[in-house]
Symmetry: C2
Subunit: 355 residues, 2 copies
C-alpha cells in the first residue's frame, strides 16, 4: 500500500508540548498514514516542522483544514477542542481529542487501546476522547489486574510532573530550581523558598524544593478537577460505574512523568506472585519490582519511554484482597501523545479494513 | 524554683541534625531544666554549643555522663541507643529515645503527648520511645479524629523530605540540584538525570528532579522498614492493635518537612464540617484548608514550625465513612526533636510533682 492509499491524518496543536512529542512518535511508529497535515493557531502558521524525516509546513486552523482528512487528532485546550472537534467530525473526519471537553460525554467513547479498544468503534458524535494523563498513568496496569481479579476500590495519591501543566509548568520549575540551587539554607525556614522563588508560574505555590497538593480547578466539596477526572475516567474506561475511587493529586518538582501510589482492593484474594504474573504479561506494562537490587520505577528512568512501569507490588498486610503499588508513566507519551496516536491507529486499521 | 531545684537533662547526640534542632528548641521553650548536659561521640567532645544563650562544652559519651541525670534524650543511631539507653536507665535517668531500637518493645511506651501522654508514666525499662518522623506527621491529627469518630483503616502515601535521611540526605539533594540547575533539557530522556547527578548520596536513585519510592531497609514481602513503622507505630500510639494500615513511602526533593496523603476510614459517618471542627480545636494541629484562596499546607510553608498542618479535607465521594486529607509536619521538629522534648517535659513535670 502506498501513502496515497493510506488514510490522511491531521494533527491539530502540532506546535504545543504534546504536539511536539506527537511528531516524534509519528516519525518512529509504524507508518500507517498517507498525508500528515500539521495544524496550529494562525500565529504558528508557516512554521516548518519535521515529521517522518520530511519538512511539513504548519497551516492555520480553519474549516477547510479538515477537507479530505480521515482522522484528526486534537492536542489543544478544552475550549478549542469543544469548538473544532465537532467541525472536524462534521467534515467526515474521526476526531481523536486529548482535551477534557468530551471525556464524560456518554456519546463519546473514552479509549485506552490496551483496555477497551472495541469502544472506539462506537462513536455517535464522530469523536473519541483520550483520557487525562493521571488516569493514564495507572489504567493500563489496573485494566490487566481487573480482568483477572475484579477491581472494587482504589485509593490513589499522585506525584505529578510540572509538564502536566504544559510548557509554562516546565519553564517555571526550571526557573525556580535556578533560583534555589546556590543556597545552602533555603527550605529550612517557613516561607523562605516562597520568597526566593517569587513567581510560581502556573502553580499555586512554589514547586522547587516543595510539593503542592493541588492540580486543576476547584470543584464541589473541596475536590480538584484533576481528582474527579481520575475517578470518573477510570470508571468509564474500565466499565465499572460503581468503582470506588479516592484520589489526592499532588504536584512534585519533576519535569516529566507522573507517578502514583495505588492501593487497589479486588473481589478476589491476591498474591504478589499472581500480580507479578499478570503485570509481566500485560501489553504496555513493564514490571520493575526488585527492591533488593534497587529496582523500582522512578520518573528519572521512565521519562521518554512508552509503557506504564509498575513496582513496589505488595499484598496489604491487613487486607488479603488488596495490593499496594507504585506506578510511573510518561505523561506526555502514554499520558497524552502516545495514547492519542494509538487510538488514531485503531481507527486507521478500521478504515483500512473497510476499504 | 531555681535551676538548682530543677531536673538535670542530658542530650545525647547533641551535634547531629536532630540534636541541633533540639538545642534551638530547648532555648525557646519554657525552661523546665536545671543543668543541661551535652553529650556526643568522642570526636565531638570539647566542642562548645549554645543552649539557652550560654555556651556549653560537649562531653564524650561514657557511663559517668549519666551521673545525676534525671532525663536523658537520645538522638543517635539505633545501635548506639540500644547500647546506651539501658545504661542511662540503670543509672537512674529516664531515657527518652528517638531511635527505632525500642519502639515496638512492649515494655517501652511509645509516646506522642497530645495523644497518649499518660502512657509515659508506665516505663518498666526506664525508657520511653519517640515515634518515627513519618508516623508523627499524621498521628496527632488522626488521634484527634479517632477520639471523636473511631478510626478503622488508613491508606497513606508519603512525600518524605531529604533530611529524613539526616544531614547526608540534605547535602546530597543540594549537590544534585546544583548539578541539574543549569540544564534546559535534563529530565526528558531516560536516565539523563541519573547520569548528570552521578552520586545519589544515601538514596537508591537520584532525588533531584525525581521521586524515589523507597525509604529505609527491605523487610519481608517487599515492604520497606519505613512502611512497617508507620503501620506498627500508629497502632501502638493510638491503642488500636487491629487498625488496618496500608502505606507507600516515597522520598521527594524537599529539604525538610514530610507530607502525607491520608485516606482515613472511620466507624462513624463523617462530614467535612465536623472534621474541620475537630481539627481546628485539636492541640498541636493547624487547619489550613481553603483551596479557593490557595490555602493548603506545603512543606515550603510548614518547615520550621511546630504543629501538624492539615488541609485538603474532603469526604470521600464513594464512602461516607472516609476522609481524604493532606498533612505536613516538620520532620526534624514534631517529627523528632520537638516530640522528644515534649516527652521529656512530661517526665520533668512528673518528677517535679513527686518532689
Amino acid at each position: 500500500m502506498t501513502r496515497k492509499d493510506k488514510p490522511t491524518l491531521a494533527v491539530v496543536g502540532a506546535t504545543g508540548a504534546v504536539g511536539t512529542v506527537m511528531l516524534e512518535l509519528l516519525s518512529t511508529r509504524q507508518d500507517v498514514w498517507g498525508e500528515i497535515r500539521l495544524i496550529a493557531s494562525a500565529r504558528s502558521a508557516g512554521k516548518k516542522l519535521v515529521v517522518r524525516g520530511e519538512e511539513v509546513e504548519v497551516i492555520a486552523l480553519s474549516e477547510e483544514c479538515f477537507d479530505g482528512v480521515d482522522v484528526a487528532m486534537f492536542d489543544v485546550p478544552d475550549e478549542v477542542s469543544a469548538h473544532w472537534a465537532p467541525i472536524a467530525a462534521s467534515k467526515g473526519a474521526v476526531a481523536v481529542d486529548n482535551s477534557g471537553a468530551f471525556r464524560m460525554d456518554p456519546e463519546v467513547p473514552l479509549v485506552v487501546p490496551e483496555v477497551n479498544a472495541a469502544a472506539a468503534r462506537v462513536r455517535p458524535r464522530g469523536i473519541i476522547s483520550n483520557p487525562n494523563c493521571t488516569t493514564l498513568t495507572m489504567v493500563v496496569a489496573l485494566g490487566a489486574l481487573h480482568a483477572e481479579l475484579g477491581l472494587k476500590e482504589l485509593v490513589v495519591a499522585s506525584y505529578q510532573a510540572a509538564s502536566g501543566a504544559g510548557q509554562p509548568g516546565v519553564d517555571a520549575l526550571r526557573e525556580q530550581i535556578g533560583k534555589v540551587a546556590d543556597s545552602r539554607t533555603l527550605g529550612t525556614q517557613p516561607g523562605d523558598v516562597r520568597r526566593a522563588v517569587g513567581d510560581f508560574g502556573p502553580f499555586p505555590a512554589p514547586l522547587a524544593l516543595n510539593v503542592v497538593p493541588w492540580a486543576g480547578s476547584l470543584k464541589d466539596d473541596g475536590w480538584s478537577s484533576e481528582e474527579l477526572k481520575v475517578r470518573n475516567e477510570s470508571r468509564k474506561i474500565l466499565g465499572l460505574p460503581d468503582l470506588k475511587v479516592h484520589t489526592t493529586c499532588v504536584r512534585v518538582p519533576v519535569i516529566t512523568t507522573h507517578s502514583l501510589a495505588v492501593h487497589a482492593v479486588f473481589e478476589n484474594e491476591v498474591s504478589v506472585a499472581r500480580a507479578h504474573e499478570i503485570l509481566d504479561g500485560a501489553p504496555g506494562v513493564v514490571l520493575c519490582d526488585d527492591p533488593e537490587n534497587g529496582e523500582f520505577p522512578t520518573p528519572a528512568d521512565v521519562v521518554g519511554t512508552d509503557p506504564t512501569w509498575v513496582g513496589r507490588v505488595r499484598r496489604s498486610i491487613d487486607d488479603p484482597f488488596a495490593l499496594d503499588m507504585f506506578m510511573c508513566g510518561d505523561n506526555l507519551r502514554k499520558g497524552a501523545a502516545l495514547n492519542t496516536a494509538q487510538i488514531a491507529e485503531v481507527v486507521a486499521a478500521e478504515l483500512t479494513e473497510r476499504d
